[in-house]
């Protein structure tokens, strides 16, 4: 009995501080923004209850509607590109490391180093590298005689988002690599050996045996990519600025939310009601899509 009480005490002792922090900094603000999104605001003061009017505005009124769907479009671009480019490279790197290619001991560490860098530092430095006239990227292209490929990477509407995504892939590809590498390593060696003895080729071994067995890792990476893509903010903020420029081509839900709720640097006035509503939409989207994808992907996971 005493032991039981003691155990409960210790469980509470270790959980409470964390729970308190999560409640204050995550759960309470979540409900606060739901509350705030139902009000009209006079600059930074809550005014009167308007129900879902702010949400209706986001979906139907100029310019909110245009900005919102444009931002969502860019978030989708982030997800698709990250999913197909970054995670495919991650899968390949993970498999190569697992196959113990020459120098894999070193690569294993090298791939992961950028993951440890701060997003802001990476964004700032790559912003300099991609500078159209002074950046190393264009300098290199010019020196190699590829001057016509030297572009305004972050200033061209068509190139800006892909450029920022590319930088983010450079920074983050080590993470899926590591997760997939761990996944491959947890596949029982007997299975692989048995397949070899049965004369299975490398290609079929990968797709029919290895890939299904690392499905849990694929689920995790997919869900994390989803959440990451819906919450993109720092990368765009550091490389393109709060306005999602040029001409909204890099605007995401994150920058749109920040700009609306807190106001642009010197042009905007805060619209906390509409900003909160965008925040709630981001939350609902993230929660809904993640839950759906977890359920959908779990079905494809197999066990030996």
């Amino acid at each position: 009995m005493k032991n039981q009480v003691n155990k409960t005490f210790w469980i509470l002792f270790f959980i409470l501080p964390g729970l308190l922090i999560v409640t204050i900094f995550i759960i309470a603000p979540l409900f606060m923004s739901m509350f705030n999104s139902m009000y009209s605001w006079v600059s930074i003061d809550r005014d009167r209850w308007v129900g879902f009017e702010n949400f209706v505005k986001i979906f139907t009124k100029y310019p909110y509607q245009d900005r919102f769907f444009n931002a969502i479009g860019n978030n989708v671009q982030w997800f698709m590109t990250t999913m197909f480019v970054q995670n495919t490279i991650g899968l390949l790197f993970g498999y190569l490391l697992f196959k113990r290619i020459y120098g894999s001991e070193i690569f294993q560490r090298v791939f992961f180093i950028p993951v440890l860098f701060s997003v802001v530092a990476v964004g700032f430095l790559w912003g300099l590298y991609l500078n159209p006239n002074m950046g190393v990227v264009n300098r290199l292209l010019n020196d190699m005689g590829l001057g016509q490929w030297a572009m305004a990477w972050l200033g061209d509407e068509k190139l800006a988002t892909p450029s920022i995504i590319a930088v983010n892939i450079w920074r983050w590809v080590g993470f899926p690599t590591l997760v997939f590498y761990a996944g491959f390593n947890s596949v029982p060696m007997e299975t692989v050996e048995a397949a070899y003895i049965d004369g299975v080729g490398e290609w079929r071994l990968f797709w029919k045996i290895m890939f299904p067995l690392i499905m849990p890792a694929v689920t995790i990476i997919t869900v994390l990519t989803l959440i990451g893509s819906l919450n993109v903010f720092e990368q765009v903020y550091t490389m393109a600025g709060l306005d999602g420029g040029p001409f909204y081509s890099t605007d995401t839900l994150g920058t749109l939310f920040y700009r609306t709720a807190f106001g642009g640097i010197d042009t905007g006035l805060p619209e906390i009601g509409i900003g909160s509503a965008i925040g709630v939409v981001i939350y609902v989207l993230t929660f809904g899509i993640s839950a759906f994808s977890i359920v959908a992907l779990r079905k494809r996971e197999v066990e030996l």
């Binding site: 006079v42 930074i44 009124k61 310019p63 061209d156 509407e157 306005d243 001409f247 106001g263 010197d266």
Partner: protein, 424 residues
Amino acid sequence: MKKNLVICLLVLMAGSMVFAGGSSESDAKEESSSKVELNFWSWRTEDVDIYNELIDIFEAKNPGIEVNFTAYKNTEYNTILSAAIKGGSGPDIIHLRTYGSLETLAKPGYLMPLEDKVPELSGFGETVLLGATSASDGEIYGVPFASQTLVIYYNKAIYAELGLEIPETWDEFLANLDAVKAAGYTGLANGGKDGWTLEILQGVICPNFYGANDFFNEVVAGDTDFTDDRYRGSLEKLLELRPYMPDNFMGIAYTDMQMLFINEMAAHFIGGSWEAGYFGKENTALDFDVFAGPVAKKGDTRYVSSFADSSFGMSADTQNSKEATAFLRFMASTEAGQFLTDKLTMKSDAPGVVFSDPFLGRVGDLNENNTPYIMLVGFRYDKPTGSELLQSLLQGMMADSINSTEVVSQVQEGVSSWYKPFQD
């Protein structure tokens, strides 16, 4: 044994917190009994030393008042300030932005009206006070700090080398740009990555083509709107400048523009009068001067856009309004104005200030014919602001994604969603 250790640690931790809290509290009490502390917040992180120097002068004259100057990062200032004021921990003295941004704090009643507190305000110019006046109740909430003028900077050494003269008309300006370009320099440092620099470009070039004050007064009154051909046509002029901008100009950000002009790689820089101090500091050998935006034909009146830059206000719920008033009266004095003018190379609006700096004198001359910086002065009072619409739309126009007709019709659609004179 282990349990005892944990308990010991907990007691130590709790104890140290109590002591830490206690000691700082007693410190604060001791000071407050002898001196009144005023907190003064600003976004001018670059000027902390200069403001502290000014505060020293004030403190020497007003023993018993201590002013703590804190500067927050420009881009985060609004957010930090709003949060602090809402939470009841805002400063006593607030460096305020002007026009529409002033409303954020003035409208909900967070600021103290100053007209009856600071008699010095009557010495300021009417247009200058407009920047610190709330549009919602007509009260003055700030002591104006400085006004800014939008101009074209040119490199005098390059002009001398190529034998160029200050252009008067648009064609002369383009001819100068051609000559500079032919000599291997970048004609114009401006780029398009930061939308607000394009709005400035518009503020320098367009007024002389849309009819400056006439159009401004008509559009503010709602007698015409932004789809007016005078305004659309003036935006078209910006497209003619593209060949003289740096390669890949849409990727050129504000800091790149400054760098190009400071390092004498570009012959012109279209920007605000606030740049001068920085230019001079970064390259002491740089010989530059300014001229106003060119006009269509010889003899036309040459306008510059200008606006009130910022002001100093007082929180409505300060505990020390007497001391805060004393400080604001000091800030409105000729002495403080002269000090800030000399140290910051800014055109202070305080009455009686003389511009000993030749650059400021020249800016003063250009201001003989001035026109309000259109979006800031007229259309930043609600969302979406004219500025935020125009900045991004101009990026689209400069990159040929949209044309000038689409720019003006979208600005009009956005602004008319809240601007009453457009709705009748």
